[in-house]
């Protein structure tokens, strides 16, 4: 009898393609449970769908369309793309559409509204679709031609990924957060360490993290080149999803004797101070002390990586009663309308505004060069977002340092890269 034990991802993929067992590097045809597109590639997807000559979307109840990258629209080009998307949504009866002011960043919207459930196969026209793995789903990015085919057929092929098990143990106390943790993991894996692989995050540290914090881990799995990132659902996941859907979903779990291509053990005690990914890559990670004092022109708290309520709470704790440094500017963007509302009610936004920050409605914003917070030649930014490739957020000579909300907020106050530890207890 062959070895039937499977990892979590192998189980999800086996179920989706209707086989008893799948093995890494095998090619499988998956039935898609959820397909997502947004304003950056939605109009492109719609054009490709029309080219296919399809008459219907395979299942309009399984498609989610969200406007997030360029909203509210900045010019006629972006407005036209959004018009095309709305026409597409209407024409094919797409059941889940999130308009400006009612949604937020797609990855956050999928999770907080309960679109993603454990065991699902999720595809999106966005590389950070990996984020949804925090709910125990297989979630991966695809291009627009493939999305057009998914919308027509409900099917997508996949090369079954190897599973890299990252076991994380130890406490993670302020000012450290899950952002420092994923940067530490990226420094071990590098930007190509997980190509055609799943990163499965586990261990006591992950169990202790809130679901919001876990989302930061799966979000940046793609930065190691991974096909997807995933976390086994537990009580916290179920509470989160019950809150989002009103029901307790069924879970899929990996077998205890499953084979992992690689195991990496992380002890959080080895992370001595907050971490920063210096330009030009998310894996170019250094302790904050190595770059402390670097002047910053802009600081950004937000994005699908770190725009959740607890991120805003941490940043606000540091900003409260202080001012953004006169030589820099701070942009704060809640990741979704729900978070925006909660941050309003808790007085967080007022605190940011009083400190001299620019607070915006939910959008991807300055994470990439899209419609706001664009960096000029030679400008330096510190951001809670996920990528710092040259030119990612503006002029090719601009530079981005990636860090946690605590480090970014502390740096905004000082006008230079700063260890948030100095703000402890003040």
């Amino acid at each position: 009898m062959p070895d039937m034990a499977m990892t979590l991802v192998e189980k999800i993929l086996a179920r989706s393609c209707g086989r008893e067992k799948v093995v890494p590097d095998e090619i499988v045809d998956l039935n898609v449970d959820l397909a997502m597109t947004h304003d950056a590639l939605g109009a492109h997807t719609a054009a490709k769908f029309e080219q296919l000559g399809a008459e219907n979307v395979w299942d309009p109840s399984k498609v989610v369309v969200i406007l997030d990258h360029y909203v509210p629209n900045k010019d006629v080009d972006t407005a036209k793309k959004c018009q095309n998307i709305r026409r597409f949504v209407q024409k094919y009866g797409i059941q889940h559409y999130y308009e400006v002011g009612r949604g937020g960043i797609c990855h956050q919207v999928l999770l907080e509204n309960g679109h993603v459930l454990p065991g699902m196969v999720v595809v999106g026209t966005d590389s950070h679709t990996t984020t949804a793995g925090a709910a125990g789903a297989f979630a991966a990015g695809i291009g627009v031609d493939e999305m057009a085919v998914v919308l027509k057929s409900g099917k997508v092929w996949e090369r079954v990924p190897n599973t890299i098990l990252v076991e994380i143990d130890g406490t993670l106390a302020f000012p450290l957060s899950s952002k420092d943790l994923i940067l530490w993991i990226l420094s071990k894996l590098g930007v190509s360490g997980a190509l055609f692989a799943t990163i499965q995050f586990t261990g006591t540290t992950v169990s202790h993290l809130s679901v919001d914090s876990r989302i930061t881990l799966t979000n940046m799995a793609i930065e190691a080149g991974a096909t997807n990132g995933i976390i086994e659902p537990d009580e916290k996941t179920l509470d989160y999803l019950k809150n989002a859907t009103g029901e307790i979903p069924n879970c899929v779990h990996g077998d205890p004797d499953a084979h992992f291509a690689r195991r990496i053990s992380i002890n959080t005690e080895d992370i001595k101070e907050p971490l920063v990914a210096a330009p030009p890559s998310p894996a170019n990670v250094v302790p904050v002390g190595r770059v402390e004092g670097t002047h910053i022109d802009q600081a950004f708290v937000g994005s699908c990586t770190n725009g959740r309520l607890e991120d805003l709470q941490i940043a606000e704790r540091i900003i409260r009663g202080r001012r953004v440094h006169s030589d820099t500017r701070l942009i704060v963007i809640p990741a979704s309308q729900r978070i925006y509302e909660a941050a309003c009610e808790q007085g967080l936004l007022a605190s940011f505004v009083r400190a001299g920050a620019a607070v915006s409605t939910p959008t991807c914003g300055p994470c990439m060069e899209s419609h706001m917070g664009v960096l000029g030649p030679g400008e330096v930014s510190i951001a809670t977002s996920n990528r710092n490739f040259p030119g990612r957020a503006g002029d090719p000579t601009s530079e981005i340092y990636l860090a946690s909300p605590a480090t970014v907020a502390a740096s905004a106050v000082e006008g230079q890269i700063t260890n948030p530890k100095r703000f402890l207890g003040k």
């Binding site: 590639l41 492109h44 490709k48 590389s127 695809i142 031609d145 085919v149 190509s192 030119g391 990612r392």
Partner: protein, 177 residues
């Protein structure tokens, strides 16, 4: 099927922001094939100039049918298919790299352009040499030095038919008929 072309040797970690900057994503009319191609060709690779992982003179001198040979992790980053389209519309016939990022790999094939991940291949080539890819025998040859490499592709069985059809959309259209 055999393709042959002049090599442009790229470095590691060519990212999608480099291939197609975010500022151009909302431009171009995808419903007008010719205008779209012109837009992508004109705006793509805009940030690649002066990058150490891109060979000198590439933007100015790339010709239709040329082939990129690269080090690890070609195409890391975004889902944006424009990153693959910009290479296709500049005339790149294939990308052969030590490793290729998953989304770029799929996007390039879907446009009817092969991407091959062949560990260690980059050491066997330099810019200006001639490369031949024989899909029938799964062999890559450096026609300048005579060196030969085997490759193994992890793709669905219908991929070569898709390549012959000119990409994913034409392949599906042909199946509808």
């Amino acid at each position: 099927m055999i393709i042959k072309g002049k090599v442009w040797k790229f470095g590691a970690d060519i990212d999608t922001d480099e291939l197609f900057a975010g500022r151009h994503l909302m431009g171009g009319d995808e419903t007008n094939a010719e205008a779209y191609q012109e837009f992508i060709s004109g705006s793509g690779l805009s940030q690649a100039r002066n990058r150490s992982n891109v060979p000198d003179g590439f933007l100015e001198n790339v010709r239709r049918g040329d082939i990129i040979v690269a080090e690890e992790n070609f195409g890391i980053g975004s889902s944006r298919q424009q990153a693959a389209e910009t290479l296709k519309f500049k005339g790149i016939a294939a990308v052969v790299a030590d490793s290729v990022h998953r989304i770029f790999f799929r996007n390039f094939w879907n446009l009817g352009c092969p991407a091959l991940d062949v560990p260690g291949i980059s050491k066997g080539f330099s810019t200006g040499q001639e490369i031949q890819i024989d899909f029938g025998s799964a062999k890559i040859r450096n026609c300048t030095t005579g060196e030969q490499f085997d490759y193994h592709l992890c793709v669905p069985p219908w991929f070569m038919n898709m390549l012959k059809a000119g990409g994913l959309i034409p392949y599906h259209r042909s199946m509808n008929r």
